[in-house]
Point group: C3
Chain length 263, copies 3
């Protein structure tokens, strides 16, 4: 798994500009996670400027966690612009399945442009396939280890993208190859926006690596940082240490601690 | 005061889904406070989805700290939906008295639906009663221990809700019974959004307990966590430790440290 | 440089109400920085209330980091109101040069009201002068120590304001006098919103001191706090300690550690 360490090295060398159209709750967190990692975040959501911003960015992160119609219009415009310019895009369908607005917005974005990667939990990805994903708010209420791997593969085939179904074990698939990532820590579930941070970091890796490897590398890097940060036993301090380790972690440590296997 | 500890236990067992329509400044903080406590937050503000989100939520938190007309419309729709569905609602009238928009929005929300609890500072609650509440921005510029208790009782009677007037001592009243809560720490005033966090946590307790006891339990739990967090002498570290203690605190500790008395 | 310490003392005595119309990413951070310092922040962006809020505030902070047309209209109204009422205004032209929307909005705000201070990086201030400011997202991609001082002086002359061009060395000029501030720490570049925090804190000092001295005092205070916070080697903990030191720092320490010289 040396390529995971190589991908992290490339992120820090390139310092990619990652354009985020994301939700209000996590903006600060995803910006700080990207900066700590070594990337350069920019947030811009006005339809008047998203086209220009995409054109100077290295990748685009779309996160539907706090939608409204003007933001949806901007997301659509940005996804189209990125597709035309060949810039990679990662989509986080936060809360798909919880409300029609979220499910339909995610679906529309998938239809109108080239999405490189979708990262969501079991309920969210299920909802995109029209399956009974018992989404409970923005948290996944149901998670099946047995079916998560198949879900990732099926969704990847259906949408022609890489799909990451994250949970206790993450499954990342391009429809043909599927990786399982077994890193992470339960305190990630006690801090808001950790899934969104994983998505944003995937955006940084997409600027330097092809989508399947980029996504696995991003999840491993983020989750190894979380494992190190879990020396703090409680969520407030854990959250702070997560940024510390995103900054301090080196490629050797990530490779050494990576728990990745082909499925 | 065993019921305070029982309420906390119930929150952690039920893990209620708390729908927040709140202000931009504190969204991240209130989400993290709810997660740390053991509840499940969701933020959604689009008028297209607030009805659905209320229907799957266990309670609703409305906080007017950064208003604009589309958000007001969504708050109105959400409060109506919650009233129809019998879901408890807590209102935080941030900055009522500082501008007409805030005072009138809070008043309109109170008129159009069943609000279970109002939590504000002395100036804000005074403003709702049309009294000369010398609100200074969103902070209360005036606080009278002698009159705060009466204000809580009077406002509770006027609006037919539970009212919490928080400050050095908090007074919580349903118009008949009034409790004084003497927990808390002055560093809470040096971190933004601590009042909003108290309101959000009240939303979690409203999902498991009747409004008067829920509000007292929420304030005591939050403020005992703050007392423990004040081992950090400075606001940055205090803020981080506040999440740690919201997560780590147990019912026994809350009951032991509670400073609650009937008025 | 005793006047720097005096300015900090005055901020804490007056506890100015600082009205911020700022970007979503940093709202929480700037509110917490102002509170830790000893000022009182308020955020309000609705055109229906910005006039009233400006009238009760001691100063106004405008930050264009996440623009959209309704926010621009409110910024314009607030700047006009502040000009009419003689309240000091600091403008942070985040990302000017990156998109037309940002550059033109900053220019329009400069034309329509009395801006006291502009604080930006080299690329942003260059863009305001119509010069080839190679802005890369919201981070300055180019920085020339030799030209930064001249840029500050030139921009100050052009716009009739105080201009701070911040970077490894900050240059603050009113067009006649220019100060160099050599405090700060490289970890500031690894936390989002630190420039925005410096701007917000400038807003607090503007309530108690004339613009040139207020800006130098704000930058020195903020950057000395950052130097102290850098005992934490990593960005997460550094960020937390930054608030701690904004709260704990005293005037004597600021004056002793200040690295300020006339240019």
């Amino acid at each position: 798994m040396e390529w995971i360490g190589d991908a992290l090295r490339k992120v820090r060398e390139k310092r990619p500009l990652v354009h985020n159209i994301t939700n209000y709750v996590v903006m600060n967190e995803t910006a700080n996670a990207l900066l700590a990692l070594g990337a350069s975040p920019v947030m811009a959501h006005a339809i008047e400027e998203v086209g220009e911003m995409v054109s100077i960015a290295d990748s685009l992160v779309i996160n539907i966690g706090t939608l409204s119609p003007p933001w949806i219009a901007s997301m659509e415009k940005a996804v189209k612009a990125a597709s035309e310019l060949g810039k990679p895009v990662v989509l986080d369908p936060v809360g798909a399945g919880a409300t029609k607005l979220r499910t339909s917005t995610a679906m529309k974005l998938l239809e109108m442009g080239d999405i490189s990667v979708i990262r969501g939990n079991f309920g969210e990805i299920s909802a995109l396939l029209g399956e009974h994903g018992k989404t409970r708010g923005v948290d996944s209420a149901e998670y099946s280890l047995e079916s998560a791997s198949q879900l990732a593969e099926r969704a990847a085939g259906e949408f022609g993208t890489v799909v990451a179904v994250t949970g206790p074990v993450d499954f990342v698939s391009d429809g043909k190859r599927t990786y399982a990532v077994e890193n992470g820590h339960k305190l990630l579930g006690k801090v808001t926006g950790t899934g969104c941070m994983a998505t944003a970091i995937t955006g940084a890796f997409l600027a330097v690596e092809e989508p399947l490897k980029a996504t696995v590398s991003a999840l491993v890097t983020f989750e190894v940082a979380a494992e190190l940060a879990s020396e703090a036993k409680y969520p407030g301090t854990f959250h702070v240490r997560l940024y510390d380790y995103l900054y301090a972690i080196d490629s050797e440590t990530v490779v050494r601690m990576a728990k990745v296997r082909g499925v």
